[in-house]
């Protein structure tokens, strides 16, 4: 089963080379693959903005409490440590470790017992981190952690589109575009949540399904929703 999923990841990576590549959907799929491959419960992809603050750009679930947990890590947490050091961070027993008090309290409250973060690296720089949560105390085995790093590397490649990696300006352009795309999606979530009278996580699902059904980029559809050009139906219809 894992081999099939790994093969899927390769196919998805190849998709990043085509013209109508959907960056935001790709990053979301990667977080979902992480959950499948690593035996964890939740995954989030964070990128650093120009202030060096980590921002959530994609997650395996759009549940607010989960996103909050990722976003909480602005000045403390496994992701911050991982990002600053450029090294993976693993905590197999979150409650017992006594690190990052604020973050640990919040994570344990939600039900998470272990956490891992792997860096998204570009040569000597770290541009972000992939963050995983588990509900059981205990290590993720070596092979799976290696897979986790490989997924982070795949995310970096997809984000920076390898042919242009050597051009620092292009890297900056891509990162800033991804950050703005996330804002776009958040705005669209708000519009849909209010219009359809649903939670923001359900709003995201509506958006994503419609993007796939229409074969459009998530960010493009989000922009159309916010611009008023798109009316999307709720999930049960």
């Amino acid at each position: 089963m894992a081999d099939v999923v790994v093969a899927d990841v390769f196919v998805e990576l190849a998709d990043t080379l085509v013209d109508d590549f959907d960056m935001m959907d790709f990053l979301h799929v990667l977080t979902e693959r992480s959950v499948q491959l690593l035996g964890v419960v939740a995954a989030g992809l964070l990128l650093a903005d120009e202030q060096g603050t980590l921002q959530v750009v994609a997650a395996s679930s759009e549940r607010t409490r989960l996103l909050e947990l990722f976003q909480l890590q602005t000045d403390e947490g496994p992701c911050v440590d991982c990002f600053r050091s450029g090294e993976p961070v693993s905590v197999v027993d979150l409650a017992g470790a006594g690190r990052w008090p604020r973050f640990t309290t919040a994570a344990v409250e939600v039900g998470f017992a272990s956490v891992h973060a792997v860096p998204m690296r570009l040569r000597t720089a770290t541009i972000g981190a992939l963050n995983f949560f588990g509900t059981h105390v205990g290590a993720v085995d070596e092979d799976r952690l290696r897979l986790g790093q490989a997924l982070a590397d795949v995310a970096t490649i997809g984000l920076l589109q390898q042919r242009a990696i050597h051009r620092r300006d292009v890297v900056t352009e891509q990162l800033q575009t991804a950050l703005n795309s996330r804002v776009l999606i958040e705005q669209a979530k708000g519009v849909l949540a209010e219009r359809l009278q649903v939670g923001v996580d359900e709003a995201f699902t509506v958006l994503r399904r419609a993007a796939r059904a229409q074969n459009r980029r998530l960010a493009d559809l989000a922009e159309a929703v916010v611009g008023g050009a798109e009316q999307l139906a709720p999930l049960d219809q």
């Binding site: 903005d49 120009e50 202030q51 603050t53 921002q55 959530v56 996103l67 976003q71 620092r168 300006d169 292009v170 900056t172 352009e173 891509q174 800033q176 575009t177 950050l179 703005n180 795309s181 996330r182 804002v183 776009l184 999606i185 958040e186 705005q187 669209a188 979530k189 708000g190 519009v191 849909l192 949540a193 209010e194 219009r195 923001v200 960010a219 989000a222 922009e223 916010v226 611009g227």
Partner: protein
């Protein structure tokens, strides 16, 4: 604080030769509202006339266009025309930063420099921060009736907690207004009640036509 102030700081921290600010009107047309000197003004006008170039790319593509040397960049499309038709008035390095908050596209800040080459890491990071300040000023300036800042520094426009952007979307629907107006109303409310944007957004206040009710849910 004004756009002019922001541009003066931009010139200083990025060590470029000229700065121009273009805003996108509700009609979709773009207009130059500030230029640090004659050359900057001419370059901005050229980009608008030709309808191509990094400035337009930044206005429409959702991200910045950073061109270390306009005369040698191989990229086809929006940049090529500007290079072909004219020289760059001796400023071949162009860095176009969009003034945007998600779907709210207010305009672009163009930086021009005579010496080709990229901006240094610190320069570009500071430039983005200053562009965000310019963005905040543009959003807040839409309401002439309210002196909304009350002596406070405007909060960042783009680098906000996600709930602020979600709230923008919700308020748009509640008030049946554009995203820019919704964000302005949210910001005006926060300033008037001396609260942070993220705290206002987290309370999920409902906005009615005149002012929000306090039934947080």
């Amino acid at each position: 604080m004004t756009i002019e102030d922001v541009c003066a700081v931009l010139l200083a921290v990025t060590d470029v030769d000229g700065v121009a600010v273009t805003v996108t009107m509700s009609t979709g047309l773009r207009e130059t509202v500030y230029a640090s000197d004659r050359v900057a003004a001419d370059l901005a006008e050229l980009a608008l006339t030709v309808g191509e170039g990094p400035s337009l790319a930044a206005a429409t593509a959702g991200g910045p266009a950073l061109v270390a040397d306009l005369t040698t960049r191989e990229m086809p499309g929006p940049v090529a025309g500007v290079r072909r038709r004219r020289g760059c008035d001796g400023r071949p390095a162009v860095f176009a930063l969009p003034l945007q908050v998600g779907a709210i596209r207010l305009g672009v800040i163009d930086l021009h420099r005579g010496r080709p080459g990229p901006l240094a890491r610190e320069q570009i990071d500071n430039a983005f921060l200053l562009a965000d300040t310019a963005c905040a000023l543009l959003i807040d300036s839409n309401d002439e009736t309210m002196p909304i800042h009350h002596g406070r520094e405007p909060e960042q426009a783009r680098l906000q907690h996600p709930e602020v952007h979600q709230a923008t979307g919700m308020i748009m629907v509640q008030l049946n207004v554009t995203a820019a107006v919704a964000l302005l109303r949210l910001r005006a409310f926060a300033y008037a009640h001396d609260r942070r944007l993220r705290d206002v957004a987290a309370r999920r206040l409902r906005f009615n036509r005149d002012e929000p009710d306090d039934d947080s849910r």
